[in-house]
């Protein structure tokens, strides 16, 4: 089971009301390489991965929910008290007519979240390579959002999240090394 802790993993700040940035950020909320997809992907793979690496998938999957909450906090703060006119000007008019300023699991283009984003092949190597790719894609997405953002406080949180993708990627690469065993045996031709 899980317990809730009344704190964010990292102190999230945003400098100003900016619904346009919130529209970009939602890619990491309900997008293909976002934090929700990551959390669900890893926690779901736990059931069939070899025992040696279940703990890692469990713990990274759990951390992803903490990241989901950070992204939600950023979106919430960037759009809090924004008027319908401001939302419309930021390209969020379509969002407003369906959701007001509620958060919703969709990507930056408004496409609803789908479990088709989450792979589970049942082959440990295939699944871990999938996870490494997911971390690299999430890292790249954070880079492109940082490129588009001019909010230094927001970027501080985004750089933190980008670095977490790097550490997760390394851990998944280590998990592959653990499962393949015989690391010292190279094949010579």
């Amino acid at each position: 089971m899980w317990y809730y802790e009344k704190k964010l993993q990292y102190p999230v700040k945003v400098r100003e009301c900016n619904p346009r940035l919130a529209k970009f950020l939602v890619e990491q909320y309900g997008g293909a390489d976002g934090e929700l997809a990551a959390a669900l992907r890893y926690l779901n793979q736990r059931y069939t991965i070899p025992d040696k690496v279940i703990g890692l998938l469990n713990d990274i999957g759990t951390e992803e929910f903490a990241h989901l909450e950070m992204i939600a906090t950023m979106i919430y703060k960037l759009t809090k008290d924004a008027t319908p006119e401001q939302l419309k000007a930021a390209g969020l008019g379509d969002h407003y007519v369906a959701h007001d300023s509620a958060l919703f699991y969709n990507n930056a283009s408004g496409v609803p979240f789908t479990t088709a984003y989450i792979q589970a092949k049942g082959d440990p190597i295939a699944d871990l390579y999938e996870d490494i790719a997911a971390e690299e894609k999430a890292r790249a997405t954070y880079q492109w959002i940082i490129d588009l953002s001019d909010d230094p406080d927001l970027n501080d949180g985004l750089k933190y999240l980008r670095e977490r993708e790097i550490v997760h990627s390394l851990r998944f690469r280590e998990a592959v090394e653990i499962l393949k065993e015989e690391r010292d045996r190279k094949k010579f031709f």
Partner: protein, 72 residues
């Protein structure tokens, strides 16, 4: 020691309407070179520094945007 950004020069046609980017770059962070973290790597001196860098180990830290700012 590896570098964290790589550069390349794309082909530029006289018929490309946008102002050409002559040098392109991409990020090559530390996890690509480490494979398996060795024990005992040096850590950031304080927990707060680790938190703000997003990792406990300076060897795993990757800057973004590119501090060298070559090309784009």
């Amino acid at each position: 020691m590896f570098t964290q950004f790589k550069y390349w020069k794309p082909y530029i046609s006289p018929f490309d309407p946008c102002e050409p980017i002559r040098i392109k770059s991409y990020s090559t962070p530390p996890q690509l070179y480490i494979q398996f973290q060795p024990p005992g790597l040096p850590q950031y001196p304080t927990a707060k520094q680790a938190l703000h860098c997003g990792t406990l180990w300076p060897d795993l830290f990757s800057p973004y945007p590119n501090p060298e700012k070559k090309g784009n």
